[in-house]
Symmetry: C2
Subunit: 509 residues, 2 copies
């Protein structure tokens, strides 16, 4: 049942290989990722045919990808190509020649299919109900309107980073004002013909290299503290700002801009201009970046599973389960600690000892479920490793702030350490967040101790509050256990953090 | 073949449980670690017998440890006890009572045995030929002289952190000068009777909680940048300094000292005083800390393997192989990249293009072998994860500086990132180190690309230098491969970092 599959995506700008590993439970992990900038659209002759040189370049690259796939035991290679070949006059010949020489079968995706794959990727990796998904590639732009997590409309426009540069901006050292005006006018005229773009109040989700680059440049500029691109949120204004930064920087020194990867200096302006044009037209304020894109959507489609995914399914839970499986945590223990934590939290909430809501209960649940994940790295300093993993490995569905809060609750040990970590991320977290993390952190330390032997010694907890003292009654199998002893040690910290006297009682069932 | 074993170590100060997991290949990993401060030596009556209350406390704790062992599928529990029971008049009764109630068989270790276990732990985790190993516990101190990695002499003295406090320092708020003098005099008189302590030129290796605490306080004070205690090196003077810091701080505010764990405030002074007394007497300059101690030595002995370990075996290689196995790297690929790296490095050294020695070749070999270790965490940002693992997880045998250099070579991507990391660790690394890391980093990037498909496409490399240009000839199976293509891309960076023109040639064998 477990297998490797590869997606090769031949675009106008680059040819990209991604190898996925699918485990026995159907969870998908990327295991390799390689990109070569072939710039196929630069190899069109005057008749709109891809030249022999272009084909040869592509084939050389694909032969090497084939080697890598063979070395990695890939059972199935799916080749797709988008605008690059969609627009070529000799596309069938090229595809046949590639097949003859490499054995890889390429499928020319329609703009509609491209949009759909992008939508699938976003739906399975972002907790968002309504959005315009805008995927700007080398030779085309797909815009999709998603509502209640359904694909409602989509369209493909023949403008991409590469051909915008060639057609409008002419690769000059500095972008000409008139050229830009001309570009904006044409895009505006094109967008005007799409009736469903107007009067929606929802964010744009950007996919593809241009979007990732915008986020990366912005993170460098603002010295963003968190190491993640997926689900990064920006204002439309920020995108505008980055466009002007790029415009002002002559082509020859553009590679100096931090966050701009080499091989993209000459086309980035086209892609960013397109984002500003689209976002201005549909008049949105928020811009989110998804690092999941059409290749991921294709993989989901091949595996069929996500396509039939229940649209109401909580994607956070789905990904957390996979995460837990990947890092091989003891799920029985994790679930029990989560159960005890949420039970205790809700009762403290009801007794008005904690001033929170179900939103915080959800963050606590995630932190409780994943608290032990650092153990995969090493049994020593587990809390540090848990913090590292949760703050450095993508957990789709959660915002960056939520991911940080979860990471800090799950790895909470001492107020002092928390202090310095919150300080490091003070562009994302504030003092109230710190207070929340501290309280849920000590709560989780306590509930973890209630399942120290991972054998459900404590089956449940009941909170009793007499106005002066809070009693946490633990329903136990045996009256004396290491769990109750440890719980007694941890509950001492509650007074300081919750402002009440606490005690633990063991109740034999 | 794989199994869990537990060591329970009942000392004068605390009762400690460590659970080890031993895999099918015999490698040992700690999977749990728990400590309760029972302070057994405080439960002696006037006849030197452990009181019923003391026995009951121990038994309650051991019953809980037993639960945890059962929950963790421990097949074998080994109980040892040291000075605490060695000195008790009713030791046999106590051991029998414990066995009757908990089924755990305790063995009273002699001071000699204790010393031997500490020695085994040090020998298997530090790359050191000659040292005094000083293990200060709650009720005794073991001093061992190791030469050429053999145990030459050992002795056990009945002075430990707990009884020094009781006998000499009397738990006063502030330590009395006369009490201290009296203590130093007695220790000096005792040490004078040990002929082999004098006239040796070698460092002290400290084991046990006092040593770890000294290191931890020192790291806080100096804001040490590296997250590791094992193999931490200090001057004798630093230990003296920490002793005076502790002395000056009244008992009631001692818990404020960063690095001092709670439950140790009242005895730490005794242990540190003993270290200063011993180190002053034997007149050494260097103090190393080992986090591996007698429990680890006992585990090694039970498993018999390390005891028969070849004393000449390179402990770095041994631990690196285990590390690689634990993090499940592709060893064939790792070994091949290591082989290519060292081959290329040595030839560049011989051609006087690189100014290094075999010492650096060894660091490169370790980095090359472990370069892909971050993949365990995630395929994205592998280099970052590699850096995290290598700089946060103990690699016994290497110094902190060496571990950092290895981590930075293995995860090298760009000079700019390296710059900021070296800056973060500027208490350990200097500019020359940065230059070394940069050069070996680009070299490793290149050799990694030579085995990109992990299929030994490039079997070997030969360096040709005509005084102007360096040619790296790659012995290949096929003339065209992704490896040679990538190698051509990476070798471009060589000119900048090595100051010569480079080219790659593929030679078909």
């Amino acid at each position: 049942m477990e297998k490797h599959i590869a997606i090769i995506d031949m675009g106008s700008n680059s040819v990209r290989l991604v190898i996925y590993y699918i485990n026995t439970q159907g969870a998908i992990y990327k295991v390799d990722d390689l990109k070569r900038s072939i710039r196929l659209s630069g190899h069109l002759d005057e008749h709109g045919r891809i030249t022999d040189v272009g084909v040869e370049l592509a084939i050389q690259c694909l032969k090497q990808y084939k080697q890598l796939c063979d070395a990695r035991d890939v059972q199935y290679i799916k080749g797709v190509t988008t605008a690059a070949l969609r627009q070529a006059q000799n596309r069938d010949e090229v595809i046949f020649e590639i097949f003859r020489q490499t054995d890889i079968q390429f499928e020319v995706l329609s703009g509609e299919e491209e949009a759909r794959y992008g939508y699938l990727a976003v739906r399975s990796s972002m907790d968002i109900e309504e959005a315009f998904i805008v995927d700007i590639g080398g030779g085309s732009t797909e815009i999709t309107y998603m509502k209640e997590r359904n694909l409602v409309h989509s369209i493909s426009l023949p403008y991409g980073a590469v051909n915008i540069m060639e057609t409008f901006f002419k690769q000059q050292e500095v972008l000409n004002k008139d050229d830009l005006k001309c570009f904006y006018n044409e895009i505006k005229a094109t967008l005007k013909q799409i009736p469903w773009l107007k009067n929606k109040r929802c964010p744009v989700v950007g996919l593809g290299g241009t979007a990732r680059t915008i986020a990366s440049i912005h993170q460098y500029k603002t010295r963003y503290s968190f190491n993640s691109i997926h689900n990064y949120k920006m204002d439309t204004y920020d995108v505008e700002h980055i466009f002007h930064l790029l415009r002002r920087t002559p082509l020859s020194s553009r590679s100096q801009i931090q966050g701009l990867s080499s091989g993209r200096e000459d086309i980035i302006l086209g892609g960013v201009a397109m984002y500003t044009a689209v976002m201005n037209y549909i008049d949105v304020d928020e811009f989110y970046i998804s690092t999941q894109g059409i290749r991921d959507g294709i993989c989901l489609e091949i595996l069929k599973q996500e396509v039939e995914q229940d649209l109401d399914e909580d994607i956070v839970s789905m990904h957390i389960k996979r995460f837990a499986h990947y890092y091989k945590i003891n799920t029985k223990h994790a679930e029990h600690v989560m159960h005890l934590s949420v039970e205790l939290f809700r009762q403290l909430m009801q007794a008005k000892i904690l001033p929170y809501t179900e939103k915080e209960a959800r963050l606590l649940a995630v932190a409780a479920f994943l608290h032990d994940i650092g153990r995969t790295i090493n049994v020593y300093n587990t809390a540090n490793h848990t913090f590292y993993l949760l703050s450095n490995v993508n957990l789709p569905g959660l915002s960056h702030r939520e991911r940080l809060i979860v990471a800090l609750i799950a790895s909470y040990k001492k107020a002092k350490i928390l202090r310095s970590r919150v300080h490091r991320f003070d562009d994302i977290l504030n003092e109230q967040d710190e207070q929340l993390i501290k309280q849920l952190g000590v709560l989780l330390q306590f509930t973890r101790s209630l399942d120290r032997t991972a054998s459900k010694q404590v089956e449940g907890v009941t909170v009793k509050y007499d106005g002066k003292k809070v009693t946490v009654e633990c329903l136990v199998k045996k009256k004396r256990s290491i769990e109750i002893d440890l719980a007694n040690e941890y509950i001492k910290h509650f007074r300081k953090h919750f402002g009440h006297l606490f005690e633990v009682k063991a109740l034999k069932k």
